[in-house]
Symmetry: C3
């Protein structure tokens, strides 16, 4: 497939008389996609029912006249002010009970039926009018951004009670499932059940977990309603632009209804804002971004997209404005980020935004152009990518040799019962992902309901609190080395924990008899290499003991292809475990310098230098931000 | 007295058909006490007035049939959901004005008359039915846990106004006592007085202090009502299970009505959660708990219990789930903690809980048994204690040579006027207690209204902002060395501060003329040893100057047996002061290695190794977690 | 002008029979001013309309009988409790939506018309009765203290809408000015506009900025109403006692209506509470205060006061009670602080307070006297100043050689768009001020609307986001070296940023093409000396490049007298820039030891040792807290 570039454009922000020139410059640059419409509701419908779609049609036609394809965004992430008069109770409510007001964006509760109907209405209007023109769709914008999945509104409370009623059918069944006999928390009626905020002590984790499941379902339902409205009038593929490290709803579930998964990649902002890496790491990569964060999300969204179709819908082109610190990228990084996305299979990388805006919340957010329309530094790097794309053959994709199971429900289970500070599911998954990448391995992210592990040499299943039956079967049938744990299978039926490790994995007799969590300053060294940190299990069973720690505790146990890991590995222990698994799987690995990462894309291997210094690797020297392929 | 062991059991959490086997295993282990009933309200009264007590009777009978004695807990810390329909305004309100909702426990305001009546009603029902069976009672559970003493509800506001009216009789008297002329805060009527939250700047400390006194009185009143209901139908001793480092209500005042003071001892959880010790200390003792924290509370609750009767009602048996980090105890520590409690006079140590629960907020909280009923590591240590108890004579108690005055009202005074970060009364008291323990001294905690100091060689009175008249008299009559200060006697009538040190102590002419508080990085070294930290007073008077600091300030002054200490001592200064006091009192001390602590229990001296390494002491080597007696 | 001393006295706190003796002691000490009346509303009007002014008249007469001049404070910072019954909605509301209640002070919303009328009423009553007696007035107390400028009350909302309507005249004009097309934030009516709290994401910075402008205007209006009431009945000069580092309202705008600017100087409290200096700095100056903080505010309030008239209305005389730590001043510092104020032009330094109070929120706040009326340490230092004042000629003032432009509106612009943690306008200004002071330079603070820069050798204009036209003209006409930036002129019309540096400065062709903010651990070293920290701009243009950083970025560019600085300078870079500017301006500088500061007051040069050690300087040794002049 040919890889393409695009940009995000807000014609309503600029005088109409410069649209045509902008379109010319976009086309001249070599872009083929332009996203419009997102956030434009107050211009599309300035008052209830008073539609003004002509300007958007003119904008779209102007772009299409230059050969640009349009991604049309639904404007539902920014309902206009008049919407509040129609639905005064549509606002989400924070966990302290405060309504989250108008004046920015995402000020709606996913559970509000009235607002959902309005969102469907405007979407249907756009689909009818532009269904033939739009080459692709984006539904809403960045679900979950600004912590907007969880709402404690009256609408959410009503919907939660209904959801519980559907799930449990009777209060007794719910009491039994939640263990409400503890602390006399039993309910006589679903109407007695509140949202799990503002309790005196921690709410029942079962209560909190169901609220997270419910909240995810509300996002899925909200999204599905818009997708259906689009489908009725358009054959163009539909997408949503997800974010980095957003765990509050199940992206696989939203993704099922859409052709394309897109995400918004802000490497520098995310490093500052969404990483627990130590200061020295943040400093070293301040101008390049974390070497693995983007790749992880590329692989994730390739799994979320139908048939592996995915985009970068918004690509950071220069300094942003919303992180604790907002440095400029190292020269070359905009190109590197683009190529890395292609190497991982992106169909399109779309720069956010075309031109820096001289007002508003994104006043200081860079674009490809400066506010005075001069080219900003990212512009030339995009142009370089265009030239390089012309010169090189298509980037192909193939199944990776390594599968890493990633599951949103597991993230929720960790979140409601972390058992210790720092015990975060994403952090665990990302530690494992980084460990694999440092060995030069290419990775496929797999959802927990994967049916088939054929073709993988190595499958890693960390922290998957509940292992679905389907995956159990796949594990049993697989020919891969499978590394399971820590905490994987701890909760077979959402109840028993700690308890016996999944009895349904034939031949792996390991039982977790105790869990402890560790201060960051008390790693437990493992004989041979590395240490267990943060989370440590006590293991029993007849499986072979592979590793023990200096206190005599069993760290890893194996039967045949299956290995159970009873603790959170530090980088040293993880490397030891992965090297052993590679050896046993006959899977070759690389010894990469710290800043180098590679990605095997079908027959092509890409090499990236994420560091600020030149690095010698395999006989050549990559400059800072260097990209090589061959 | 024979020392005994017990456990906490929730029959309602388990199928009735395993109760008998549980009882057998408890008895076989050598336990003699089982606490039941706590938190079971929703099963005892599933709907208002619909009592279902038979199951509890069967459970009690099952336990008693195996010779176990039952402690019956009143279930009032966890009112069922239907209670909220009867008393919608019974919830406590946090200092931001949010009601603290249903869904965990302790969701009641101590000032709500309706709920107090309900609590008395269910207690009376239980006392009638089980008054003859119960061998002991526990009222409610862990008053103050989850910050539940202070409530800013309407019920609290009404009760506070009434309390103020009773105390002051007229607004003018209150205005005068509080100094409300300052900042025009004068009131015309008690109905104008609000609770001291949500003020623009700090509330008047007199206002805040009275709110603390009031709040403590509300706990005392709530508790007394249940005690009276039990007394009417049962002769068994009554207790409450207090917590560690809980200062918000006067335990001596609640304790007056009950025979036994119990507390819930979680050494590892408390070290992580309730200590300002530096990280290196927390790391060293992460698996053993602070070497002095448990001992302090043992001594405290011996003072709170009538005639020195006290228990550990809940003893940590393995990892808990609620602290920032939850490591497993070092092997042997469950035994050590048990013996240390006995050495300090505990009648009973009861392990929490019998079996780890496979659901709920305490899902990950260890028990003596694992969820699958196999023995957890703590089980064998309890069994070892049983064997050792059989082999050794009774542990006797005698008055200690050192008295340390501890007062809840002083804690409130420090809290409302700390004058500097870190100036916390408990921290001061605990610093002093640790300093005494490091010299091998055994200590009695004394309330501030102690009438008689006879028998003590040394009495220490730190931070006792107001010295009651009765204690003044006792000091004057005592033959002990008395070390007073810092801040002791600063507020003779809750008003004048800083001002002359208590003129009623004959012969100690010391005046505090100025108070300053110090950054943690600016200790003021004292000539000879150590330094003054945090809190420093300027002293005048004719008493002898014992110590001066390098700036020429007087640190300690003495007249005869009485010494005033005008600053917060660091460990070096404290050691110097205590060694001098011991010498003057003719009181022998020990030079203990850092991890070793001793307790003299009548004729028996116990030695404990709180460290993770073997320690040589007095010719023998104690292993980690080692206990010796002789 | 003869310099004078005073004190703050609350006769209502003390028995009337000691007033006369207090007056005698004040006069004997050599004080000439006494402030009274502040906070006394509940005694002046115990019930609505029931005035009791006689006691205040007796107090004033008692003081005047001893030759003391009275500053009469209006009591409006502490409305009595009955005011709430008359105006239940007068309370300010915090940004979480909680009313800020009665029980301390400043519990009013500046936008509440009813309360403003009450404030004018009581002021008029006092002015009528005491207009002839008062030698000076103080309006209210410490506007902005306890974060009281911003209120999110209904009254504020109404007033804000009205203010916006006046400013923009139509919603369309507002939408255009704010850029509300972004995120569909457009309004149809002013009644739809809420205050900018509780939005989901950051509010539009234009919205937030207008709220800050509005809030400042409300303070100005509140103050002006009282000033007018006084003027009608009194010819005495009027003042307000401002605070340190209070940026929330425009002091120049309030100051326009009053003769005298006063401020409350608490060097030790402010160092602990209002400084981001590192711990080692706070430790070194813990007993002396920051060496530049007081001087900065002296120079600031000299600019705020009409014709340069300014006072220290409250001077810290010993330990205070409200900072995180509250040490006692080094011996001699009360004298030093007093002399430093005189050196910078203060007419009067008034110690707060006369006698330490034995109750209330200021229980532990030192006075000149102890609670028992004995002299506290500050008393003797005041006496020493009195003796020294007699002996030395008047302290004269003259224009300083250096002007530093300081602007409240710039502070608000930085606050709503900091673009990176730590990018705070005050911090920038204070870094520059300190750099100038370390070179021994005396400084005038200049408002942004300064018309004329004549007489200055060097003018520094850092962070002035919008450069007013008037100042543009003055810069063009000036003969001084002018150092502009960073971020100065970034927003010509509050809109375009980043964009071309002010085109209206003839001859300085510099354009800012990009802004980035830097982690604190990633300074960008500059060739020659120092580094750019925190805020870094990319510069283009034809002006001469003066400095470049190691990454090749332009740091400073010059045309003739005008230099633009495109980044936040660390001390090394700042020193390099200032030394160059001094050289080019022919302005001599000093090489001061770290603890030494000087102030040229007309013909007299004062030298101050702010350190705890003796320092050799210019052939003599200054002791700690030493002051020298000549």
């Amino acid at each position: 497939m040919k890889r393409t570039l695009g940009t995000c454009y807000y014609p309503e922000h600029w005088p109409e008389d410069i649209w045509a020139e902008d379109a010319v410059r976009m086309a001249d640059l070599g872009l083929t996609w332009v996203r419009v419409g997102e956030f434009a509701w107050s211009r599309l419908e300035p008052a209830p029912g008073q539609l003004q779609l002509d300007w958007l049609e003119r904008a779209i036609d102007t772009l299409m006249a230059k050969g640009l394809n349009v991604v049309l965004g639904t404007p539902t992430a920014a309902p206009p002010r008049w919407m509040l008069d129609r639905h005064p109770d549509m606002l989400a409510v924070d966990d302290g009970g405060h309504p989250r007001g108008f004046g920015s964006r995402r000020h709606y509760c996913f559970s509000h039926d009235g607002y959902r109907a309005e969102a469907v209405r405007i979407t249907r209007i756009l689909a009818r009018r532009f269904g033939a023109r739009a080459a692709a769709w984006q539904v809403d914008n960045e679900y979950g951004c600004h912590d907007t999945v969880y709402s404690y509104s009256d609408a959410a409370r009503r919907a939660f009670r209904d959801w519980l009623c559907q799930r449990y059918q009777s209060p007794d069944a719910l009491n039994q499932a939640w263990g409400n006999v503890f602390w006399s928390m039993e309910y006589d009626s679903f109407d007695q059940i509140d949202l799990p905020n503002l309790t005196v002590a921690q709410a029942n984790p079962a209560h909190a977990l169901d609220f997270r499941r419910f909240s995810s379902d509300q996002v899925v339902r909200f999204n599905a309603a818009q997708v259906a409205a689009i489908r009725a009038h358009s054959n163009a593929p539909v997408s949503h632009n997800y974010m980095g490290r957003t765990l509050e709803f199940d992206h696989f579930a939203t993704g099922e209804r859409m052709e394309i998964a897109a995400w918004d990649s802000y490497p520098l902002g995310f490093l500052e804002d969404r990483s627990e890496a130590p200061a020295r790491h943040k400093r070293r990569y301040a101008r390049q971004g974390d070497p693995d964060f983007q790749a992880f999300h590329h692989d994730l969204y390739r799994a979320v997209g139908r048939d592996g179709r995915w985009w970068v819908m918004e690509q950071q082109p220069g300094p942003v404005n919303w992180a604790p610190h907002n440095p400029a990228p190292l020269a070359g990084m905009v190109r590197l980020w683009t190529w890395e996305a292609f190497a991982h299979g992106a169909e399109c990388v779309s720069y956010f935004r075309w031109r820096q805006i001289p007002f508003s919340q994104e006043h200081y957010h860079a674009g490809l152009l400066r506010p005075d329309s001069a080219a900003a530094p990212g512009f030339a790097e995009a142009a370089q990518v265009v030239r390089e794309l012309v010169a090189m053959p298509d980037v192909e994709q193939a199944q990776a040799p390594v599968g890493l199971v990633f599951d949103y429900a597991a993230a929720w289970a960790w979140a409601v019962q972390p058992q210790g500070q720092g015990c975060d599911y994403f952090r665990l998954i990302f530690d494992i992902y980084r460990g694999l990448r440092k060995l030069g391995l290419s990775i496929d992210i797999l959802p927990a309901d994967t049916r088939d592990l054929a073709g993988y040499s190595l499958v890693v299943i960390p922290g998957l609190v509940t292992i679905p039956e389907r995956l159990m079967t796949a594990i049993a049938k697989a020919r891969a080395q499978v590394l399971i744990g820590p905490r994987s299978g701890a909760t077979p039926r959402n109840r028993t924990l700690p308890g016996p490790l999944p009895p349904a994995i034939p031949g792996l007799d390991v039982t977790v008899t105790r869990v402890e969590t560790l201060r960051p300053d008390m790693p437990v060294p493992v004989d041979g290499a590395g240490a267990v940190i943060l989370w440590r299990e006590a293991l029993e069973g007849t499986a072979d003991v592979l590793d023990t720690d200096v206190a005599g505790g069993r760290v890893a146990m194996r039967s045949g292809r299956l290995t159970y890991l009873g603790g959170w590995p530090d980088p040293g222990l993880l490397r030891r475990l992965l090297l052993r698994a590679c050896r046993d799987a006959g899977l070759p690995h690389l010894d990469l310098p710290p800043d180098i990462r590679v990605r095997q894309s079908g027959p092509t291997r890409f090499v990236f230098n994420h560091g600020p210094d030149p690095v010698a690797f395999e006989g050549r020297t990559l400059p800072p931000a260097g990209v090589a392929w061959g």
